[in-house]
């Protein structure tokens, strides 16, 4: 068993939908997609963001582009101009998810 940083095998982009953030994570190759498909569960992502996301995490699969899309509900402090957060639109959350370490 070895540990890898998610950022070694994937990249991505994040943004906002109201008070929910979306994070798309894209594996660099098929091998990487197998790893994220298996290990990057909605539960793992929810746990990773326990200080940021206060709602449910939804996961959607896009094997066609080796990607997973996560919706983090109640994660942006109200969203839009209501939110007082520096990152009110969740632009930095993809990078925050890439911090995760995965054991393979």
């Amino acid at each position: 068993m070895s540990k890898i940083h998610l950022r070694q095998i994937a990249h991505g982009r994040s943004g906002d939908k109201g008070d929910a953030a979306n994070i798309g994570i894209i594996a660099y190759d098929d091998e990487g997609y197998k790893i994220i498909e298996k290990h990057l569960t909605a539960e793992r992502v929810k746990k990773h963001f326990e200080g940021i996301c206060f709602g449910e995490v939804e996961r959607y699969e896009m094997p066609n582009i080796r990607a997973l899309n996560f919706i983090l509900n109640n994660a942006l402090g109200g969203g839009g101009t209501v939110s007082l957060k520096l990152d009110a639109q969740g632009k930095t959350l993809a990078a925050a998810l890439l911090r995760m370490e995965i054991e393979t």
Partner: protein, 456 residues
């Protein structure tokens, strides 16, 4: 029928690179220039401008831009499609025609699409049975009706198609889906029908790839971003579209940036929900069917897109006033930068409490430490950090409360922890908090109207 058309993205939002559309029309051949100006907050800003001056309420930069573009676009036969009309597309079109008159470019047909702005007919619509309940909370619109600043229906591609059929050289829209701007010329040029769902979905996907400007051609790229060439002169994306729905995403030669599987894939996942249900007024596109293939340098083929019939609803976006907020910041330096910033935060909170001020929310962030990733940020060795910015924000219903907060930032310089600077901008001012009310409306309740204004 043309065998292919080139649609170029010129703006990803109001405030994007001003020269980008100009470069799109001079650095190579294109058939259409599409420019997205509207975000939700933009509509309320424009509504406010219109209430002060009935001739405003659109993307004002568009007029100066069109003065530069028109001599080129009319010579080359490039059509321009934009939602920069905001909440006043007619005044926007008039201003463009005024500018065009002085340019000696000959005949010009400017189309406007009206009917998306339903703010003034809400009572009527509610009477007719549109509840316009909040899609997220289920609350009825009546709870915020008196505070509403804007209410707009998102139209799709078909009103633009009608404008093109009627000979428009420029199409000025109000609220339109970003994707509709790109899909419309494909429907018009290739004769696609409103039941060709796979084709409509293919054009919608192309629109999604173009709608955020350079975000699909190397900008904001989280992969190997340092390897993206010449970001200073980044080329905005171009969709080379074919009648069978295949689209090649590319950019002009001799521009910076890059178009690859990775740069396009990052844009595909941007701000989407369930990839199987990408809903627009024109169709429902299945993003999990899309295939991407690099077929050359800066050329990515997008194909195999599957679509389903559109829903019977338009999305409505309303905005309403919901109090005020303000943000102040102070910079603390080594030694103990974070400890000082945290102490200042504590002092400020105590003073606000002593004043008896009521806030809906108080938030402090430590920029340089954990403002973006919060508890995911690693513990830091404070001795190695040179400075930390305390960013302190408040939100309240009452403007005076926010004003009073604004008077409490500067005093911290002489009455708090040492080696503090960065307070040059004056007291933080109250900003309007604009909240959103997403809703649905039956398509049969509103009708887009196309109007052509001519310069002969």
């Amino acid at each position: 029928m043309k065998s292919k058309i080139k649609i170029a993205s010129g703006q990803g939002f109001w405030g994007d690179l001003i020269d980008a559309p100009y470069h799109q029309v001079i650095k190579g051949d294109i058939d259409y220039l599409v420019m997205d100006y509207l975000a939700e907050v933009t509509m309320s800003i424009m509504q406010k401008q219109k209430s002060r001056n009935p001739n405003l309420g659109y993307a004002i930069d568009l007029i100066d831009l069109m003065k530069r573009l028109l001599p080129i676009t009319s010579k080359k036969g490039i059509k321009v499609i934009t939602n920069g009309g905001g909440v006043n597309p007619i005044s926007c079109a008039d201003a463009i025609l005024d500018a065009a008159m002085k340019l000696d470019i000959g005949k010009l047909d400017v189309a406007v699409v009206l009917g998306d702005d339903i703010k003034d007919c809400l009572d009527d619509l509610i009477k007719k049975g549109c509840d316009l309940n909040n899609m997220e909370t289920g609350e009825p619109i009546i709870t915020v009706k008196d505070k509403l600043l804007s209410a707009n229906v998102y139209f799709g591609a078909f009103p633009i198609v009608e404008a093109l059929k009627r000979g428009a050289d420029i199409v000025i829209m109000g609220r339109t889906t970003d994707t509709g701007l790109t899909l419309a010329p494909m429907i018009y040029e290739f004769g696609w029908k409103n039941t060709d769902y796979d084709l409509l979905a293919a054009g919608t996907v192309a629109g999604h790839i173009l709608e955020c400007g350079a975000q699909s051609s190397g900008g904001n790229f989280l992969g190997d971003w340092e390897s993206i060439p010449d970001m200073a002169e980044i080329g905005f994306p171009i969709a080379e579209a074919y009648p069978n729905g295949e689209v090649i995403i590319t950019k002009h030669e001799n521009t910076g940036g890059r178009v690859t599987f990775e740069t396009v894939a990052e844009q595909l996942v941007y701000e989407i929900g369930d990839p199987k249900e990408y809903i627009t007024p024109d169709c429902v596109a299945d993003f999990s069917s899309i295939k991407l293939e690099e077929i050359g340098k800066d050329r990515v083929k997008v194909y195999n897109v599957i679509g389903k019939p559109e829903t019977e609803f338009y999305k409505v976006s309303c905005s309403y006033h919901d109090g005020f907020s303000a943000t102040g910041s102070l910079t603390y330096c080594w030694p103990q930068a974070l400890t000082k910033a945290k102490a200042a935060d504590k002092i400020l909170r105590k003073r606000l409490e002593n004043l008896g001020l009521k806030f809906d929310e108080i938030r402090s962030e430590f920029v340089g430490y954990n403002a973006t990733h919060e508890n995911l940020a690693p513990q830091m060795d404070e001795d190695k950090i040179n400075e930390i910015v305390l960013r302190f924000s408040v939100r309240a219903k009452d403007r005076n409360t926010i004003n009073r907060f604004g008077q409490e930032i500067a005093p911290l310089i002489l009455t708090g922890p040492p080696s503090v600077t960065g307070f040059a901008g004056g007291r933080p001012k109250p900003k309007d908090v604009i909240a959103y009310w997403p809703a649905l409306i039956k398509k049969t309740m509103v009708e887009p109207k196309v109007k052509i204004l001519e310069l002969k």
